[in-house]
């Protein structure tokens, strides 16, 4: 996965043109876990949408395994922050949705769904409806749905942001297991420094809008990581420092915008 000089201006060429990303260069190696960290509104989601092929970049190029990204592909599964399970389908039908799109027979769909749900620890919930599940379980189903497509890249847009702290910690452990099993690369967006410290092989810190890469911090700590270890504390302090100025800038800009409006 390679991004070269990727830029995105929303509503380009109109009076409401709005620059979200500028000149982003980013490589993600196969099987790597990369965390995108930045203040809210800096364009992290925008970058994921571009990589997913849901939106078109206004500049630069994105390639995935040498193919130019110009449309969505099951190779690159996006997991959204809010629940995106279809309420009219049962859990297993949600997980097998991508297969049913390809016209896979019911037998295969059930098997794949069962296996994917087992991998996220929800084998019991096959026949439940999404609204019978808790927020954390729903996100796990969303992960299972992505895994069922055997993606090469998992794109995750603040998937655990709506969860409470304990659930989030559990979900992080679980995600690391799933990631190790699947061999996929993960591009994980968050604005939580702790989350970045717990998960990443590399942390990519963004500037305030328009989002540019401010720095890339490699994390060479073995997992599972003890959040209270001195190494983690050190890393947290470093990321906090990197981010502080950007958060202030993002705030100032938002206030200026509010003042102008």
């Amino acid at each position: 996965m390679v991004c070269r000089g990727v830029s995105k201006t929303w509503a380009a060429g109109t009076a409401r043109a709005h620059e979200a990303l500028r000149d982003v260069d980013l490589d993600v190696a196969p099987g790597e876990f990369v965390v995108l960290l930045g203040p809210s509104g800096c364009g992290k989601s925008t970058l994921l949408y571009l990589i997913a092929g849901l939106e078109e970049a206004t500049g630069g190029a994105i390639r995935s395994f040498r193919d130019a990204v110009d449309r969505p592909s099951p190779d690159r599964s996006l997991i959204f922050q809010e629940t995106s399970l279809f309420p009219w389908l049962s859990v297993w039908q949600n997980v097998a949705f991508g297969l049913s799109i390809r016209g896979a027979p019911e037998e295969e769909r059930r098997n794949v769904a069962r296996e994917a749900l087992a991998r996220v620890g929800l084998a019991e919930a096959m026949h439940k409806r999404p609204d019978e599940l808790s927020g954390g379980m729903r996100q796990r189903v969303a992960v299972a749905r992505a895994l069922a497509m055997r993606p090469k890249v998992l794109l995750m847009d603040e998937p655990f942001a709506a969860l409470d702290v304990q659930t989030r910690a559990k979900m992080q452990d679980f995600l690391l297991d799933v990631w190790r099993d699947s061999g996929a690369s993960v591009l994980f967006v968050t604005h939580h420094i702790d989350e970045a410290v717990a998960l990443a092989d590399r942390v990519v810190v963004f500037t305030a809008r328009p989002g540019r890469i401010k720095s890339i911090v490699p994390v060479d700590l073995p997992r599972p990581r003890d959040p209270f270890s001195p190494e983690c504390a050190h890393l947290r302090a470093r990321l906090t420092g990197e981010l502080r100025g950007e958060v202030d800038r993002a705030f100032a800009e938002q206030e200026a915008l509010a003042g102008a409006a």
């Binding site: 997913a52 092929g53 849901l54 969505p72 592909s73 099951p74 690159r76 599964s77 996006l78 959204f80 809010e82 995106s84 279809f86 309420p87 009219w88 949705f97 991508g98 049913s100 799109i101 390809r102 409806r129 999404p130 609204d131 749905r145 497509m149």
Partner: protein, 310 residues
Amino acid sequence: MSGNLAGTAGRLRRAGSSALASRPSALPPNVRQALSRLGWTVVSVGLFVGLWELAWLLGIADARLLPPPHIFLGNIPDQARFFNTATRWQIGVDAAAGPSPYEAVGITVAATAGRVFAGLAIAAVLSVTVGVLVRYFALFEKLTLPTITLLSPVSPIAWLPVAIFIFGIGNAPAIFMVVVALFFHMVLSTVSQIDGVNRNFINVGRTMGATKRQIYARVIIPAILPQMLIVLRLNLFGAWMVVLVAESTGVGFGLGQVIMLARNTFNPSLVFFTIALIGLLGFLTDWLLRQVQRRILYWVPQTTGVLRGL
């Protein structure tokens, strides 16, 4: 959570009144709920009837103009005579021929209800189809949406002559009237429902490799179904209103005909009897659609409980 709340409520009730200690009820909760709803319907209607009767007792409501319920419902066989559906005026038909008065009421009601449902079904299928096509094909939108928008405020009454020009008399003009009264704004409502579909749902479909057609069939249509059924239920009443207008001209029999007969023969009792009948029918058909809605839309949470808690 809700079990907790119920538990708390139970404790409160027990603590509050030992004298009025609630007897354990043998009925399952949903039956009890239905009974309670029915009870309140009776009370609500009873209140209205009571006020009317009171007005009659006090001499405010003139029985010749506003006959109270005990008069217009007092002699149902007498009222039923007016629902004559036999073609007795034709030469050579025996005066005693044709259905009995009660059968005639049944036939009349069935005919009108049939027109309502036929019109509703046709309008629903047509308008959802057109609404989806509008969003699916940009050219189709450009060609049709302006005209649909222009026509949607036209009162169904204005279509009545058109209905008769095109379809003459019989069932067809009445059904046409129902369809035309509902079609245009149901198209607009379909389009706005489609525009309101959660973007994430559509993006999930896209990342899974769904084609445009699959996204419409597998994501957009199920996503708009709940709202569309609500729109349909609201339009059911509109259909009942329009069908009477349509039936008042050019149809052999129907409730609209009975109303026209009552008007021409100055029979307020018959008017109110028919109104009561229509009210009852509207109520029953709404209940029916609600059941359908509950069956089809098993995934839509019931939120009235939350509102009650306010």
